[in-house]
């Protein structure tokens, strides 16, 4: 608690130093104001003049940061908030920041986005030591439809998932770090299809993994589909780890289609279904547990209105983000379902 108070005080002081300089200099030279309070956006009177904080559990430049920054002006508009502040709190594979949002005051003034799939995996195996119950948080919705994929090198020997699955020698599967959702996704898929593999996971984040993969390392990468888009020349998407085919990659089979083709059934097939449930959770926005219902409704409404705003859709498209709104109720249900199926993974999570 003391830390929190200290945190706040010092952050305010330092920001004041830097902010004062920046604001003084920059005010008045902006063509279209972003910090001006938008009018006519509606929202509840509670937010008027207040600052909404969006915490991002990863550093600047990644997908979670991108979504927060694209959404920020629209949340401000539709909440009628005085300003929106984005705070990057990277660390612990995203769990440090996610925990900070979880434990933030439930006054509706702090929200954040999180790797909900990663959170669910962590809640299933308690690997990190963070004990968060993602059933309890106040979900706002999911902005994206950006399914997880497995890619191979475009110049490599594996052009299709069939070829990869038929590999005689051990393949080297890149993933960010042990226990991360992309790591677990690859492990479960390769175990389910009995592909001989070894995990190579020592990257600080998906961009480091992407850099290694682009320079020709490893056999496969386990990333989200938007991650691979910027290096589509050197990568070949062979599998979509999602329950349904992805419109942007119509020719790439889903893991379920491949499982049926390979005659996988019973528990293993169920586990793969469970995996797609986890991985489809995507970049999810949430508020801490216990936000008063009127404010939560205001947040959810503002989130939905942002998603429907043509200007937002244009901005997200321009930034190369894959949109696909999922409502808070659907998201809550999906998280609960994913958590309830944790036991199915069992041995499939083992690495030799």
């Amino acid at each position: 608690m003391l830390f929190h108070t200290l945190n706040g005080a010092a952050r305010v002081t330092t920001c004041a130093v830097a902010g004062a300089v920046a604001v003084t200099v920059l005010t008045g030279c902006q063509p279209k104001g972003s910090s001006s309070s938008a009018s006519g956006g509606g929202g509840s009177s509670f937010y008027s003049g207040k600052t909404l904080t969006i915490e991002v559990p990863y550093g600047p430049g990644g997908g979670y940061d991108q979504w927060a920054r694209v959404i920020a002006p629209y949340m401000q508009k539709y909440l009628g908030a005085g300003s929106v502040k984005i705070v990057n709190a990277p660390g612990g594979g995203g769990l440090v920041g996610t925990q900070a949002i979880y434990h933030a005051p439930a006054d509706g003034l702090t929200i954040g986005d999180t790797n909900a799939g990663g959170d669910v995996f962590d809640q299933i195996d308690h690997a990190s030591g963070f004990n968060l119950d993602m059933r309890k948080v106040s979900w706002l919705g999911r902005p994206d439809d950006d399914p997880h994929i497995i890619a191979t090198h475009s110049k490599g020997p594996y052009k299709t998932f069939d070829q990869l699955a038929g590999s005689k020698g051990k393949i080297s599967a890149l993933a960010t770090g042990k226990g991360s959702s992309d790591y677990n996704a690859a492990v479960i898929v390769y175990n389910a299809f009995k592909v001989p593999f070894k995990m190579v996971a020592a990257f600080s984040g998906s961009s480091a993994e992407k850099a290694a993969f682009t320079s020709g390392e490893g056999t496969s990468a386990s990333v989200s589909s938007s991650d691979i888009a910027s290096i589509s020349n050197s990568a070949n998407t062979v599998l979509v780890v999602s329950s349904s085919p992805f419109s942007k990659l119509p020719k790439v089979p889903t893991v379920i289609q491949e499982a049926q083709k390979h005659g996988i059934s019973g528990n293993t097939l169920q586990a793969l279904h469970a995996l797609t449930d986890v991985m489809d959770l995507g970049h999810a926005f949430f508020a801490p547990p216990g936000v008063p219902s009127a404010r939560l409704t205001a947040l959810r409404t503002a989130f939905k209105k942002s998603m429907d705003d043509p200007a937002f859709q244009k901005a997200a498209k321009k930034a190369g983000l894959y949109q696909g709104y999922e409502s808070s109720s659907d998201l809550s249900a999906a998280v609960s379902k994913a958590l309830s199926q944790g036991a199915l993974f069992g041995d499939l999570l083992k690495t030799s």
Binding site: A22, G59, I86, P90, E217, S234
Partner: protein
């Protein structure tokens, strides 16, 4: 290519863009002087302002601020041994030593000039390399990362240490400190003592400020020195016009053109390597300058070469870091990661397509780095005589301010009170290490590159194995490492075998020690030389 350059230039010459470029430089230069606010923090604070801005002006604002940060980070490094950004730590070695010798204005002059020239060399190189950028950024594999990191630690380990052994030990200490926190290979927490604030490891700003700034403040307070540069203020007064001193610094750089250009090229090349380059470039640049210098013994005592090298690569490495950022969407450093955030807000998707869709923005960014470094340096040169007077402030008055700024900076960078405690621990450790002849630069570079060494050692063992020895770049880096470790031994052996060569070298070697340690290479006029001799304690 010419078309892209022209459209970038015309975008930049727009008055609104120029205004933002100027503002960015000013904000960067002013705020970058506050330790901990350099690097990514200020840029993140600027991001909200670019919503709704056209692309080129917005990027001009961000990159100009980014450039300004690195210049002013060096200013505090030179004056107070307090690196504004962790990268500026390499400038403390000789920059602060020169301040202690009473020549802060000269050191600032060197810094400003080398930064600008280095920045432009970087921009020129960038111009040549832009067409090949996606290929270049992927040239490095795990084995090259590993070899480069080990080379850097070995090179720096031989700096400012009582002995090579103590230097390498210091590097090992730094490596060990870097292992605190989440281990991506096994997925467990190491050496955190259950403290969640340490789960993400020791903050780099806390380490840099602790090792350099705080340890020095402890020393000053302990010895009760009257000012950072006892004679510095006097020299400025005695010398009449302080501008003379700054000019001397400018001349220092012009007298070492090859070193300046070489360091800038090295900086650019290292900047291109994502993840390692940016942050280690200035250290490696310093190391190569020392290794190739005729007077390596002067390094750490305030030799101009020791400031020229890291400063020359300081901005050029950022020019290099633009390549992977733009070409692959893989940030070359922390500042570049924030730039990627900016891309999102502006609706730019990095990748090979960016060269077609936003070629003017790419060129404008390159030019902003050059123009920004020039503007920052001009501001710095103008302010240098006044800034240099800060070094005259009595030590005991200054210490609380620097310490408070350091605490604030660490807090701003990490948002964790525990990291401030870490900074204090590093400060005490740094003080003790200096006293007993261990090397702070080596510990710092070990810390910075620890994760690189660990992760890539693992990747090499998993992916490449001994096959990595078939890679030419790896082999070259390995050879340089071995040479720099065993070179002196080899030379001694050769001297034993052919004593005549050693005999011939002796008469030539006997001359330099008589010459003043200071500045024969600066070619200073007799008048300034006498005043300098007077400065010496």
């Amino acid at each position: 290519m010419i078309h892209g350059l022209l459209s970038g230039l015309s975008g930049l010459l727009d008055p609104y863009t120029l205004l933002l470029l100027l503002l960015g430089t000013l904000v960067g230069t002013l705020v970058g002087a506050i330790p901990g606010l350099g690097g990514a923090v200020l840029l993140t604070l600027l991001l909200p302002f670019i919503y709704g801005m056209p692309i080129v002006p917005a990027l001009a604002l961000l990159l100009a601020a980014h450039t300004g940060i690195y210049f002013s980070g060096s200013v505090t490094a030179i004056l107070f041994n307090t690196p504004g950004a962790p990268e500026s730590a390499a400038t403390t070695f000789d920059g602060y030593a020169m301040t202690r010798r009473g020549q802060p204005a000269r050191a600032l002059g060197i810094s400003a000039t080398a930064t600008t020239i280095g920045g432009w060399v970087g921009v020129l190189l960038l111009a040549v390399l832009i067409p090949f950028m996606s290929k270049l950024a992927t040239l490095f594999h795990a084995s090259e990362y590993l070899a480069l990191a080990v080379l850097a630690i070995v090179l720096i380990g031989q700096m400012r240490a009582g002995s090579v052994t103590k230097g390498l030990l210091s590097g090992a200490l730094g490596l060990m400190a870097s292992f605190v926190g989440f281990d991506p290979i096994t997925g467990v927490q190491r050496f955190t003592g259950g403290q969640q604030s340490l789960y993400d490891g020791i903050n780099i700003t806390a380490a840099a400020l602790g090792l350099f700034a705080l340890s020095e403040m402890i020393r000053i307070y302990g010895t009760g020195r009257r000012s950072l540069s006892e004679s510095g203020g006097g020299a400025i007064r005695k010398g009449g016009t302080p501008g003379n001193r700054v000019v001397l610094g400018v001349r220092d750089v012009l007298d070492h053109p090859w070193l300046t250009i070489r360091s800038a090229i090295l900086g650019t090349a290292l900047g291109i390597v994502p993840g390692i380059g940016g942050i280690a470039a200035n250290f490696i640049s310093y190391g190569q300058a020392m290794k190739t210098s005729k007077h390596p013994e002067r390094f750490g005592q305030g030799t101009p070469e020791g400031i020229i090298a890291p400063e020359s690569s300081s901005i050029s490495k950022e020019a290099g870091a633009l390549l992977p950022t733009v070409a692959l969407g893989v940030p070359g450093g922390v500042g570049m990661a924030v730039l990627l955030s900016g891309f999102t807000i502006l609706g730019i998707v990095p990748g090979p397509a960016m060269l077609e869709d936003h070629v003017d923005a790419v060129w404008a960014m390159a030019l902003v780095i050059g123009v920004g470094s020039l503007l920052a340096s001009l501001t710095g040169l103008g302010l240098a005589p006044f800034l240099a007077r800060l070094a005259k402030v009595p030590g005991r008055t200054l210490v609380p301010f620097v310490v408070a700024l350091g605490f604030l900076g660490v807090f701003a960078a990490s948002d964790e009170a525990a990291q401030v405690a870490v900074m204090v621990a590093f400060g005490v450790a740094g003080y003790l290490m200096t006293r007993f002849g261990y090397s702070l630069p080596a510990a710092m570079i070990g810390f910075i590159l620890g994760k690189v060494v660990e992760n890539n050692l693992y990747l090499v063992s998993q992916l490449q194995g001994w096959g990595s020895l078939h890679r030419p770049i790896t082999d070259i880096l390995l050879a340089i490492t071995l040479l720099s470790l065993f070179g002196p031994l080899l030379r001694r052996g050769l001297r034993l075998v052919s004593p005549r060569r050693a005999g011939r070298a002796a008469p030539a070697g006997s001359a330099p020690p008589v010459v003043d340690v200071d500045d024969d290479e600066a070619g200073a006029e007799p008048a300034s030389r006498t005043s300098k001799a007077g400065d010496k304690r």
